[in-house]
């Protein structure tokens, strides 16, 4: 339990900087019991600054206006929190347990932090005393394999690799085969960053999937879409395309230690009903922590 509280603190700490930069006036507005038209418009602008997107903000404002009509005094913060949590709680997070060999695939556009996330996740699972095998499936980006090997060293887990430009599906196959034979708990597969609009690269993900299924029929067990918290509304397109092409099961929200708030997950979850497994709050090996919807929404709305 102490560990868990520690994590929440860390989560809040990561988000605090965010608030300091932008949210001072939001706190003031949310403390009001009544809001006039100007204040409502101001509030709308502030919510839009969180990358929640026009549609989600419209919905939030609609609810506020409805409540304002209904009663003399309202608690804007509680109302917004209620609305946001409804979206974030739609899909409960699934714990990372490995009754048999579990294959985890990490996907996402370029530069979101897939390799770093994978390194941290490997260290976390290893730290729990479980066996981890890391597969260097990004055979495209220069030195991606070296980067992953360094993470492997840090986490103390083996990394399976082939040469640059090799077939990612083949190395994924090798990884799954080896893990199955040895009964390794976790196989974490890194993939090259790809823009979701590039059909041929998206098809490659399906190929990786099929080659994994030749070894372990129900693999990959988890497909994590790594999403950069600084991303704007394009995140919606990313999530939709990756879900369709790779069967994404969970989101990971990275770079939450910056001034961006990752509000785009709200419209994403509204549409796709996916759970958020982890958030990244720094470059250290411990800076990957379980998602906490309450803390996240507080981060969006608190001062």
């Amino acid at each position: 339990m102490a560990l868990f509280t520690g994590l929440i603190d860390k989560f809040r700490q990561g988000l605090r900087r965010t608030q300091e930069v932008v949210l001072r006036p939001l706190g003031h507005l949310l403390g009001l019991k009544k809001l006039d038209e100007d204040q409502l418009l101001e509030l709308e602008d502030l919510l839009l600054q969180a990358d929640l997107g026009v549609h989600a903000v419209d919905r939030l404002m609609l609810r506020l206006r409805f409540e304002l009509k209904r009663s003399n005094e309202i608690d804007p913060k509680a109302i917004l929190k209620d609305e946001l949590l409804k979206v974030l709680h739609q899909q409960p997070t699934r714990p990372f347990v490995a009754p048999s060999t579990q294959v985890v695939l990490l996907v996402g556009v370029n530069g979101v932090g897939k390799t770093t996330t994978l390194g941290k996740l490997a260290a976390h699972l290893k730290g729990r005393g479980e066996d981890v095998l890391v597969v260097a499936g990004d055979t495209f980006r220069a030195a991606a394999i070296d980067q992953l090997e360094l993470w492997g060293e840090r986490a103390g887990v083996p990394v399976i690799r082939n040469q640059m430009g090799g077939d990612p599906a083949a190395i994924a196959f090798d990884g799954a085969t080896s893990a199955k034979a040895k009964g390794t708990h976790w196989v974490l597969i890194d993939t090259a960053g790809r823009l979701h609009t590039k059909d041929h690269l998206m098809k490659e993900l399906d190929k990786i999937r099929r080659s994994l299924q030749k070894v372990i029929p129900d693999a990959p067990h988890r497909v994590l879409l790594v999403l950069d918290a600084t991303t704007g509304q394009n995140g919606i397109h990313q999530a939709e395309a990756f879900k369709q092409a790779a069967g994404v099961t969970d989101l990971v929200l990275t770079k939450l230690d910056g001034s961006a708030k990752g509000g785009v997950v709200v419209p994403i979850l509204e549409r796709l009903k996916l759970p958020i497994a982890f958030v990244g709050v720094g470059e250290g090996v411990d800076d990957l922590i379980p998602f906490d919807a309450d803390a996240f929404v507080d981060g969006l709305l608190d001062v």
Binding site: Q147, S259, A260
Partner: protein, 457 residues
């Protein structure tokens, strides 16, 4: 979800038909639509607000020019303003060079923006333009970042600087010395990605700046960035005084409002865009194209370039010649299908076309008529014909049609449909060869362009 602005405005502006002036009351709804478009494109809320005030001032009382409807007149103002703010006419020279070489270019930005790849692209660009650049890896933090730059440099055919030190300032200084000694005239410093909130690392950048006196400090920004772009770019600019921006990952489907936000937050020009996985996917920034993209007006220019890329010009020319001579056969139709399928899915192509007055639903419907699946079926039918049959469709009697249907796994009815479609295309081409018809088409195209106002309408 992202209906194009054109569609929305044409709705909002319907009420204005026949009015000759833009007034406060008649542009309010249009302004709201523009605001929506900007926000959906990730333009920062405050930036959008300032912009709309400016547009309103310009638009109020503006005469609606002959040949334009009020909607077109309004969007023309919006578009021109956006282009103006985003950079107007591009500078002759994108980078300023030091009087005394080497010129130092320092690349900065958040993690994952694409600095290292962009360094390679910029170096290659400069080399093509006659410089001899040196790439310097100064990211000592991210695992294998230095190795990555060496690999990129090798791919680009550019020398990269090797140094033992783990101190970025020392590395940069040493690289500068080496460049002076060996005659590299541009030194590109690849610094580590960092958060603008990280004081220690930001101070390090200031030290590199002080030690190397760069002529250019380029902020590398991800085109997919949301509202945060204002804060991060603004903060980098405040602390370092950036000289320009390079926008990366513009090859996706992001509307790229971040470009506008960054320009407004820093006042510094966007100099280049990175647009693909290859080191040659790097070009000068085009404010007009970006403006259209942000406004969701359909990226015709991109489509044209895309098409240029994928379509074999010789094939296209040969086909055009055959059409001109009225020799269009089933074989030509087959080749045409193959070319179109190279462009990607029909829905995507339709999305890129700004078709005024056509809603998204209609576009999807139209794309549906030529769905990729249908294309495959048609190609299968054509493939099942013999070369002789493709050269002369009259050979296809009932027996042959049954064979073709069997071979392609489609029905005889579908084979008939295809032949009917072919005959219609052939007929259309005969018309196109008629000079009278072409004049009529050109007049129509002219009208669609909005009377040559320089706007995409």
């Amino acid at each position: 979800m992202f209906d194009s602005l054109t569609e929305k405005l044409s709705k909002a502006m319907k009420a204005l038909r026949g009015q000759s002036k833009l007034t406060e009351s008649n542009i309010d709804e249009a302004l709201r639509e523009v605001r929506m478009a900007l926000l959906e494109a990730d333009v920062h809320v405050a930036v959008a607000r300032t912009f709309l005030t400016r547009v309103k001032e310009k638009a109020l009382g503006a005469e609606v020019l002959q040949g334009l409807n009020p909607g077109q007149a309004f969007i023309d103002i919006v578009h021109k303003e956006l282009v103006e703010i985003m950079g107007g006419q591009a500078d002759e020279k994108p980078l300023s060079f030091a009087a005394q070489p080497p010129t130092v270019v320092m690349m900065v930005g958040l993690q994952g923006a694409g600095k290292t790849t962009t360094c390679g692209k910029l170096a290659k660009f400069l080399k093509k333009n006659g410089s001899s650049p040196l790439l310097v890896p100064a990211d000592v933090y991210r695992p294998a970042a230095i190795e990555q730059l060496h690999v990129v440099a090798k791919d680009a055919g550019i020398p990269s600087f090797h140094h033992e030190s783990k101190n970025p300032v020392e590395i940069c200084e040493a690289a500068l010395k080496e460049a002076k000694l060996k005659g590299w005239d541009v030194v590109i410093l690849d610094t580590a990605g960092r958060l603008h909130l990280d004081e220690t690392l930001m101070a390090e950048l200031s030290r590199i700046k002080a030690a190397c006196e760069p002529s250019e400090i380029l902020f590398v920004a991800d085109a997919m960035t949301g509202q945060d772009a204002v804060r991060s770019a603004g903060s980098f600019h405040e602390q370092l005084g950036i000289t320009g921006v390079i926008l990366t990952k513009t090859d996706g489907d992001t509307r790229g409002g971040a470009a506008f936000s960054i320009k407004q937050a820093t006042g510094r020009p966007i100099k280049f865009t990175g647009s693909g996985e290859k080191l040659d996917d790097f070009e000068r920034f085009h404010p007009d194209r970006m403006a259209q993209r942000i406004l969701g007006m359909g990226d015709v220019l991109s489509l044209i370039e895309h098409a240029k890329d994928k379509i074999d010009e010789k094939d296209a020319e040969r086909l055009a010649n055959r059409m001109a001579k009225n020799q269009f056969t089933l074989e030509d139709m087959r080749q045409q299908f193959q070319q179109v399928s190279k462009l990607g899915s029909m829905t995507k192509i339709m999305g890129m076309l700004p078709l005024p007055g056509i809603t998204k639903e209609q576009k999807e419907q139209m794309a549906g008529l030529a769905t990729d699946k249908r294309m495959k079926h048609l190609t299968a039918i054509l493939d099942s014909m013999t070369p002789k049959e493709r050269a002369n469709h009259n050979l296809l009697d009932a027996k042959r049609k049954r064979r073709v249907a069997g071979g392609s796994g489609r029905s005889v009815q579908e084979v008939n449909q295809l032949i009917k479609q072919y005959l219609e295309m052939k007929k259309m081409m005969t018309q196109m060869n008629d000079p009278k018809f072409m004049t009529r088409m050109q007049r129509m195209a002219g009208a669609m362009k909005g009377g040559g106002m320089g706007s995409p309408f």
